[in-house]
């Protein structure tokens, strides 16, 4: 945890880099036969949250991924990965579906934070995240969440109350953005680097705090060996979790210790 000032904020900036693999990159390289399923069945379909069915080493799983997009146009269309209430409710619907059909759930998290527009508030963004937390806390199938880039606060947690939470070595996970922290606490936007250090938001920090269970090395990131390694890890862990009769008790204990 002896990171220098530049390290922590550099990690945040790197995690935001648009050339990093996004949710859809993970879906198409880690799984086979992905079938996207749209809509929250209430008020719309949120393109910033991609969900559906896929096979992991042949086994059906439910996949939920925040998608940010790479190009400017894509990023705009995906609301820069800030998920709307409709996205969280689509995720909720697919989680319940996964439980019904005894499929494990894999989430890829990459959001600066939940949507914070006027419509997001009007459509109950807080309630949508809360509902997901309550659902995930009691979901009877294994859940693994991987923070692949930005792990922005409640918006990230809404997809990360899981049996295992993994984090890319270059990702960050934080209760608030370093910019927001610097502004609120010190009224000084220049103090972002200091804020980033104080918040303990790097992959090393999160692991040391017990918030995450594993760091995913970024060697060959975006290339086949990287995705192969991740597939292997996910497959192995889901098999273990799937056989665990105390899954829910352990998930409770995992978060109870904080």
């Amino acid at each position: 945890m002896n990171r220098t000032v530049s390290d922590a904020y550099a990690a945040v900036e790197a995690a935001r880099n648009s050339s990093r693999p996004t949710g859809l990159d993970y879906i198409s390289n880690v799984f086979t036969s992905f079938l996207e399923l749209h809509g929250d069945r209430g008020s719309g379909d949120d393109p910033s949250l991609v969900g559906g069915l896929a096979r992991l080493d042949g086994c059906p799983v439910t996949v939920l991924a925040v998608e940010k997009g790479h190009t400017a146009r894509q990023r705009q269309a995906r609301n820069f990965g800030s998920v709307h209430p409709e996205g969280y409710r689509k995720a909720l619907r697919l989680m319940r579906q996964a439980q019904k059909f005894r499929r494990p759930v894999v989430c890829f998290v990459d959001t600066a934070g939940a949507g914070c527009g006027l419509a997001d508030e009007q459509h109950g963004i807080g309630q949508a995240i809360a509902e997901n937390l309550k659902e995930l806390a009691g979901l009877s199938v294994p859940v693994i969440s991987v923070i692949i880039g930005e792990g922005g606060s409640g918006g990230a947690l809404g997809l990360a109350l899981a049996d295992q939470v993994w984090m890319l070595e270059g990702a960050y996970y934080s209760v608030i953005s370093p910019e927001g922290c610097a502004q609120i606490l010190w009224k000084d936007p220049k103090k972002v680097s200091e804020a980033a250090v104080c918040l303990h938001l790097t992959a090393d920090d999160a692991l040391a705090l017990g918030v995450t269970d594993r760091i995913i090395q970024e060697k060959d990131i975006g290339k086949k060996p990287f995705f192969d390694r991740l597939r292997e890890s996910l497959s192995e862990e889901l098999q273990k979790l799937g056989q665990d009769p105390d899954l829910l008790a352990k998930r409770y204990a995992r978060f109870r210790r904080f």
């Binding site: 527009g117 508030e121 109950g124 807080g126 806390a137 918040l199």
Partner: protein, 287 residues
């Protein structure tokens, strides 16, 4: 006598519609000025009417005042007083901030939990404290609230909780974010046991508290005029580049949008809670 008679209201409507302020307020008595009607009212008078201005504006209320307002006399027993926060991340300025919060509020943490009866019904209760860092949720707040849900589950009690919070306590970093998950899991267990949870959202209920236990209740009530939302007004204005309407995130708006069951003025809060609790005879027993 004639003059006094003249000063008296001459009908019941007028009597009820106006507050009986003393003709000459004691200059020494502290007053609060209402942000709505701009009139000043002596604090002692406000306290006698649950901190509600004669115009109807609800001033913020501290946790102990709420305990007196809601629970039956002498029934409240505080729990988990020994659970207090630490400074796990050695965050600059945090210990000092917490000390001044303790001095300002007279409380050790931003929530008070306990058991008591409401209209004769035994309940587990929590009351968040606005004077303690605006009810911000750190590990101790999360631990106390989690424990009250666990205690309620064990003793088959309904939970009644009053929220007021600026959100997660950023000085505890990810550990405060994890409280949202920890409490939500405890709420879920309590709920799965068929037990009732009523949340009362008071001004302000925002951020991580809205995005977890404030919005996880079976019945969500709110006080008139309370700000209820996730992102702060400033953030939303920055995002949208537009000025927001005055009723943005007001309880009345949030009720219309479908996220609140009822808005309940303070004078009616205890009778309503009593009624709701009485309608859930199984909400406090194992099914």
């Amino acid at each position: 006598m004639a003059l006094l008679h003249f000063l008296k209201p001459d009908n019941a409507l007028e009597d009820g519609g106006r507050d009986r302020l003393p003709v000459q307020a004691d200059a020494m008595e502290p007053e609060l000025t209402c942000p709505e009607c701009r009139k000043s009212t002596p604090v002692s008078l406000l306290q006698a009417r649950y901190m509600v201005c004669p115009c109807g504006h609800h001033f913020r209320m501290n946790a102990r005042q709420r305990i007196r307002m809601v629970t039956d006399a002498n029934s409240f027993r505080e729990e988990f007083e020994d659970v207090v926060g630490e400074d796990p991340l050695h965050f600059p300025g945090y210990p000092g901030k917490r000390e001044s919060a303790r001095a300002a509020s007279g409380e050790k943490e931003a929530v008070i939990c306990g058991t008591g009866t409401v209209g004769g019904v035994p309940c587990a209760l929590f009351f968040m404290e606005p004077r303690f860092m605006m009810g911000s949720m750190g590990s101790a707040v999360g631990e106390r609230i989690t424990r009250i849900f666990e205690l309620a589950l064990e003793r088959h009690l309904p939970v009644v909780g009053f929220t007021v919070s600026g959100g997660a306590r950023m000085q505890e970093g990810l550990l405060s974010l994890m409280q949202m998950a920890k409490i939500s899991a405890a709420v879920r267990r309590h709920s799965d046991a068929g037990l009732l949870y009523i949340a009362v959202l008071t001004d302000p209920t925002t951020g991580g508290v809205t995005a977890s236990f404030a919005m996880e209740a079976d019945i969500a009530l709110a006080e008139p005029g309370a700000t209820i939302g996730f992102a702060g007004r400033r953030i939303v204005e920055q995002t949208t580049g537009k000025r927001l309407p005055g009723d943005f995130q007001k309880a009345e708006t949030v009720e219309q949008e479908g996220f609140i069951d009822r808005i309940v003025p303070r004078q009616q809060m205890k009778p309503l809670l009593t009624q709701l609790l009485a309608m859930h005879p199984a909400g406090g027993k194992r099914r």
